[in-house]
Protein backbone atom coordinates (compact mmCIF):
# COMPACT_ATOMS: atom_id res chain seq x y z
CA UNK A 1 0.00 0.00 0.00
CA UNK A 2 1.48 3.34 -1.03
CA UNK A 3 1.89 6.34 1.24
CA UNK A 4 -0.74 8.12 -0.82
CA UNK A 5 -3.41 5.51 -0.12
CA UNK A 6 -2.48 5.43 3.56
CA UNK A 7 -2.95 9.20 3.64
CA UNK A 8 -6.26 9.01 1.78
CA UNK A 9 -7.72 6.41 4.13
CA UNK A 10 -6.38 8.05 7.29
CA UNK A 11 -7.51 11.55 6.36
CA UNK A 12 -10.93 10.25 5.36
CA UNK A 13 -11.40 8.38 8.65
CA UNK A 14 -10.20 11.37 10.66
CA UNK A 15 -12.47 13.71 8.71
CA UNK A 16 -15.51 11.50 9.25
CA UNK A 17 -14.74 11.20 12.96
CA UNK A 18 -14.24 14.94 13.42
CA UNK A 19 -17.45 15.82 11.58
CA UNK A 20 -19.42 13.20 13.52
CA UNK A 21 -17.99 14.07 16.91
CA UNK A 22 -19.72 17.42 17.33
CA UNK A 23 -23.26 16.30 16.46
CA UNK A 24 -22.95 13.06 18.48
CA UNK A 25 -21.16 14.41 21.55
CA UNK A 26 -23.17 17.59 21.79
CA UNK A 27 -26.34 15.53 21.35
CA UNK A 28 -29.80 16.85 20.82
CA UNK A 29 -29.60 19.77 23.17
CA UNK A 30 -32.92 21.44 23.70
CA UNK A 31 -33.78 24.75 22.08
CA UNK A 32 -34.12 27.86 24.19
CA UNK A 33 -37.75 28.52 24.95
CA UNK A 34 -37.91 31.68 22.85
CA UNK A 35 -36.89 29.77 19.71
CA UNK A 36 -39.76 27.31 19.90
CA UNK A 37 -42.64 29.63 20.67
Amino acid sequence: VSALWVAIVAVTLANVAIKAAGPVLAGAASFPHEWTT
Partner: protein, 228 residues
Amino acid sequence: MRNETGWGNEGYLAGVRAGLPFALVAGVVAISFGVLARSLSWGVLAPIVFSAITFSVAAQFAVAAVLGAGGGVFTAIAAAVVLNARFLPMGMAVAPFLEGGPLRRALEGQTILTTSWALASRGGGRFDRAFMIGATVPQYLAWTIGTAVGVLSHVVVGDVERLGLDVIFPAFFLTLLMRELRSGGRLTIAATAIAAALAATLVPIAPPGVPVLAACGAALLGLKGRSS
Protein backbone atom coordinates in the same frame (compact mmCIF):
# COMPACT_ATOMS: atom_id res chain seq x y z
CA MET B 1 -37.21 19.46 15.76
CA ARG B 2 -36.91 21.35 12.52
CA ASN B 3 -40.63 22.01 12.51
CA GLU B 4 -40.43 23.47 15.98
CA THR B 5 -38.31 26.23 14.57
CA GLY B 6 -40.72 26.92 11.75
CA TRP B 7 -38.32 25.91 8.96
CA GLY B 8 -40.03 23.60 6.50
CA ASN B 9 -38.90 21.02 3.96
CA GLU B 10 -38.43 23.68 1.30
CA GLY B 11 -35.18 24.44 3.12
CA TYR B 12 -33.43 21.64 1.19
CA LEU B 13 -34.17 23.22 -2.19
CA ALA B 14 -33.37 26.70 -0.92
CA GLY B 15 -30.06 25.34 0.30
CA VAL B 16 -29.32 23.76 -3.06
CA ARG B 17 -29.99 27.07 -4.79
CA ALA B 18 -27.79 28.95 -2.33
CA GLY B 19 -25.01 26.39 -2.77
CA LEU B 20 -24.91 26.61 -6.58
CA PRO B 21 -22.59 29.67 -6.85
CA PHE B 22 -20.21 28.04 -4.40
CA ALA B 23 -20.43 24.80 -6.35
CA LEU B 24 -19.24 26.72 -9.39
CA VAL B 25 -16.13 27.81 -7.53
CA ALA B 26 -15.69 24.38 -5.91
CA GLY B 27 -15.75 22.81 -9.35
CA VAL B 28 -12.98 25.05 -10.62
CA VAL B 29 -10.85 24.51 -7.53
CA ALA B 30 -11.48 20.78 -7.89
CA ILE B 31 -10.22 20.87 -11.46
CA SER B 32 -7.04 22.53 -10.24
CA PHE B 33 -6.73 19.85 -7.56
CA GLY B 34 -7.13 17.15 -10.18
CA VAL B 35 -4.49 18.75 -12.39
CA LEU B 36 -2.17 19.08 -9.38
CA ALA B 37 -2.72 15.44 -8.42
CA ARG B 38 -1.98 14.37 -11.96
CA SER B 39 1.24 16.38 -11.94
CA LEU B 40 2.22 14.58 -8.72
CA SER B 41 1.78 11.23 -10.48
CA TRP B 42 -1.08 10.18 -8.28
CA GLY B 43 -2.72 8.41 -11.19
CA VAL B 44 -6.39 8.64 -12.09
CA LEU B 45 -8.19 6.64 -9.42
CA ALA B 46 -6.60 7.93 -6.20
CA PRO B 47 -7.44 11.65 -6.54
CA ILE B 48 -11.02 10.91 -7.61
CA VAL B 49 -11.54 8.50 -4.70
CA PHE B 50 -9.88 11.02 -2.39
CA SER B 51 -12.37 13.73 -3.39
CA ALA B 52 -15.36 11.40 -3.34
CA ILE B 53 -14.81 10.01 0.16
CA THR B 54 -13.00 12.87 1.91
CA PHE B 55 -14.54 15.96 0.28
CA SER B 56 -12.28 18.42 2.05
CA VAL B 57 -10.59 21.11 0.00
CA ALA B 58 -8.09 22.25 2.62
CA ALA B 59 -7.17 18.76 3.78
CA GLN B 60 -6.70 17.42 0.28
CA PHE B 61 -4.51 20.32 -0.81
CA ALA B 62 -2.52 19.92 2.41
CA VAL B 63 -1.86 16.26 1.65
CA ALA B 64 -0.87 17.17 -1.89
CA ALA B 65 1.43 19.94 -0.67
CA VAL B 66 3.19 17.78 1.91
CA LEU B 67 3.54 14.65 -0.20
CA GLY B 68 4.41 16.71 -3.27
CA ALA B 69 7.23 18.39 -1.35
CA GLY B 70 8.60 15.02 -0.32
CA GLY B 71 7.18 15.10 3.19
CA GLY B 72 6.18 12.02 5.15
CA VAL B 73 2.74 10.50 5.20
CA PHE B 74 2.25 11.17 8.91
CA THR B 75 3.08 14.83 8.39
CA ALA B 76 0.53 14.99 5.60
CA ILE B 77 -2.13 13.34 7.75
CA ALA B 78 -1.37 15.61 10.70
CA ALA B 79 -1.63 18.72 8.53
CA ALA B 80 -4.98 17.60 7.17
CA VAL B 81 -6.34 16.76 10.61
CA VAL B 82 -5.29 20.10 12.05
CA LEU B 83 -6.96 21.93 9.16
CA ASN B 84 -10.16 19.95 9.60
CA ALA B 85 -10.27 20.34 13.37
CA ARG B 86 -12.45 23.41 12.79
CA PHE B 87 -15.33 21.05 12.02
CA LEU B 88 -15.45 19.95 15.66
CA PRO B 89 -16.73 23.24 17.13
CA MET B 90 -18.81 23.83 13.99
CA GLY B 91 -20.46 20.45 14.51
CA MET B 92 -21.13 21.19 18.16
CA ALA B 93 -22.74 24.49 17.20
CA VAL B 94 -25.10 22.90 14.70
CA ALA B 95 -25.76 19.78 16.82
CA PRO B 96 -29.00 20.97 18.48
CA PHE B 97 -30.59 21.38 15.07
CA LEU B 98 -29.76 17.93 13.65
CA GLU B 99 -32.23 15.08 13.83
CA GLY B 100 -32.38 11.47 14.97
CA GLY B 101 -30.12 9.18 16.96
CA PRO B 102 -26.33 9.13 17.10
CA LEU B 103 -25.87 7.35 13.76
CA ARG B 104 -28.14 9.70 11.85
CA ARG B 105 -26.63 12.72 13.57
CA ALA B 106 -23.17 11.49 12.64
CA LEU B 107 -24.28 11.11 9.02
CA GLU B 108 -25.86 14.54 8.94
CA GLY B 109 -22.67 15.91 10.44
CA GLN B 110 -20.84 14.80 7.29
CA THR B 111 -22.68 17.54 5.39
CA ILE B 112 -20.96 20.26 7.39
CA LEU B 113 -18.87 22.46 5.13
CA THR B 114 -17.52 25.86 6.00
CA THR B 115 -19.67 27.47 3.31
CA SER B 116 -22.83 25.47 4.01
CA TRP B 117 -22.48 25.99 7.75
CA ALA B 118 -22.17 29.75 7.27
CA LEU B 119 -25.04 29.85 4.77
CA ALA B 120 -27.28 27.92 7.19
CA SER B 121 -26.58 30.22 10.11
CA ARG B 122 -29.67 32.18 11.09
CA GLY B 123 -28.07 34.32 13.77
CA GLY B 124 -28.22 33.97 17.50
CA GLY B 125 -26.62 30.52 17.35
CA ARG B 126 -29.44 29.05 15.27
CA PHE B 127 -28.97 26.91 12.15
CA ASP B 128 -31.25 25.70 9.38
CA ARG B 129 -30.39 22.01 9.13
CA ALA B 130 -32.17 21.38 5.81
CA PHE B 131 -30.61 24.45 4.26
CA MET B 132 -27.12 23.28 5.26
CA ILE B 133 -27.64 19.78 3.85
CA GLY B 134 -29.10 21.20 0.63
CA ALA B 135 -26.23 23.65 0.17
CA THR B 136 -23.68 20.86 0.53
CA VAL B 137 -25.12 18.63 -2.21
CA PRO B 138 -24.16 20.70 -5.29
CA GLN B 139 -20.76 21.48 -3.81
CA TYR B 140 -20.04 17.79 -3.23
CA LEU B 141 -21.03 16.91 -6.78
CA ALA B 142 -18.97 19.77 -8.21
CA TRP B 143 -15.94 18.82 -6.11
CA THR B 144 -15.99 15.17 -7.12
CA ILE B 145 -16.79 15.73 -10.79
CA GLY B 146 -14.35 18.64 -10.99
CA THR B 147 -11.55 16.47 -9.63
CA ALA B 148 -12.28 13.85 -12.27
CA VAL B 149 -12.26 16.52 -14.97
CA GLY B 150 -8.94 17.86 -13.69
CA VAL B 151 -7.36 14.42 -13.56
CA LEU B 152 -8.54 13.58 -17.04
CA SER B 153 -8.08 17.07 -18.48
CA HIS B 154 -4.83 16.31 -20.23
CA VAL B 155 -6.65 13.64 -22.19
CA VAL B 156 -9.66 15.77 -23.00
CA VAL B 157 -8.32 19.28 -23.60
CA GLY B 158 -4.56 19.15 -23.29
CA ASP B 159 -3.59 22.51 -21.87
CA VAL B 160 -6.21 23.27 -19.18
CA GLU B 161 -5.71 27.01 -19.67
CA ARG B 162 -7.68 26.62 -22.87
CA LEU B 163 -10.77 26.08 -20.72
CA GLY B 164 -10.77 29.78 -19.82
CA LEU B 165 -11.06 29.08 -16.12
CA ASP B 166 -9.91 32.60 -15.30
CA VAL B 167 -13.42 33.87 -16.00
CA ILE B 168 -14.90 31.80 -13.21
CA PHE B 169 -14.47 34.36 -10.44
CA PRO B 170 -16.15 37.19 -12.37
CA ALA B 171 -18.88 34.68 -13.14
CA PHE B 172 -19.14 33.78 -9.47
CA PHE B 173 -19.69 37.38 -8.41
CA LEU B 174 -22.13 37.92 -11.26
CA THR B 175 -24.12 34.95 -9.98
CA LEU B 176 -24.22 36.50 -6.54
CA LEU B 177 -25.29 39.76 -8.12
CA MET B 178 -28.27 38.07 -9.79
CA ARG B 179 -29.43 36.83 -6.41
CA GLU B 180 -28.92 40.20 -4.74
CA LEU B 181 -30.91 41.96 -7.44
CA ARG B 182 -33.94 40.05 -6.20
CA SER B 183 -33.43 40.34 -2.48
CA GLY B 184 -30.54 42.63 -1.57
CA GLY B 185 -30.32 46.26 -0.56
CA ARG B 186 -28.89 48.95 -2.80
CA LEU B 187 -25.49 48.97 -1.11
CA THR B 188 -25.23 45.18 -1.35
CA ILE B 189 -26.17 45.23 -5.03
CA ALA B 190 -23.70 48.02 -5.76
CA ALA B 191 -20.89 46.27 -3.89
CA THR B 192 -21.52 42.97 -5.67
CA ALA B 193 -21.60 44.72 -9.05
CA ILE B 194 -18.29 46.42 -8.26
CA ALA B 195 -16.85 43.07 -7.19
CA ALA B 196 -17.88 41.45 -10.47
CA ALA B 197 -16.51 44.37 -12.49
CA LEU B 198 -13.24 44.37 -10.56
CA ALA B 199 -12.77 40.66 -11.06
CA ALA B 200 -13.53 40.88 -14.78
CA THR B 201 -11.24 43.89 -15.28
CA LEU B 202 -8.28 42.69 -13.25
CA VAL B 203 -8.14 39.06 -14.40
CA PRO B 204 -6.36 39.77 -17.70
CA ILE B 205 -3.83 42.25 -16.27
CA ALA B 206 -3.20 41.56 -12.58
CA PRO B 207 -1.10 38.76 -11.05
CA PRO B 208 -2.99 35.63 -9.94
CA GLY B 209 -4.88 36.18 -6.70
CA VAL B 210 -5.17 39.96 -6.93
CA PRO B 211 -8.51 39.99 -8.81
CA VAL B 212 -10.12 37.68 -6.27
CA LEU B 213 -8.78 39.67 -3.32
CA ALA B 214 -9.99 42.95 -4.81
CA ALA B 215 -13.41 41.53 -5.64
CA CYS B 216 -13.79 39.99 -2.18
CA GLY B 217 -12.87 43.33 -0.63
CA ALA B 218 -15.63 45.05 -2.59
CA ALA B 219 -18.10 42.30 -1.67
CA LEU B 220 -17.27 42.80 2.02
CA LEU B 221 -18.63 46.34 1.72
CA GLY B 222 -21.92 44.82 0.67
CA LEU B 223 -21.84 42.46 3.64
CA LYS B 224 -21.29 45.44 5.93
CA GLY B 225 -24.27 47.14 4.36
CA ARG B 226 -26.44 44.08 4.84
CA SER B 227 -25.56 43.73 8.52
CA SER B 228 -26.17 47.38 9.32
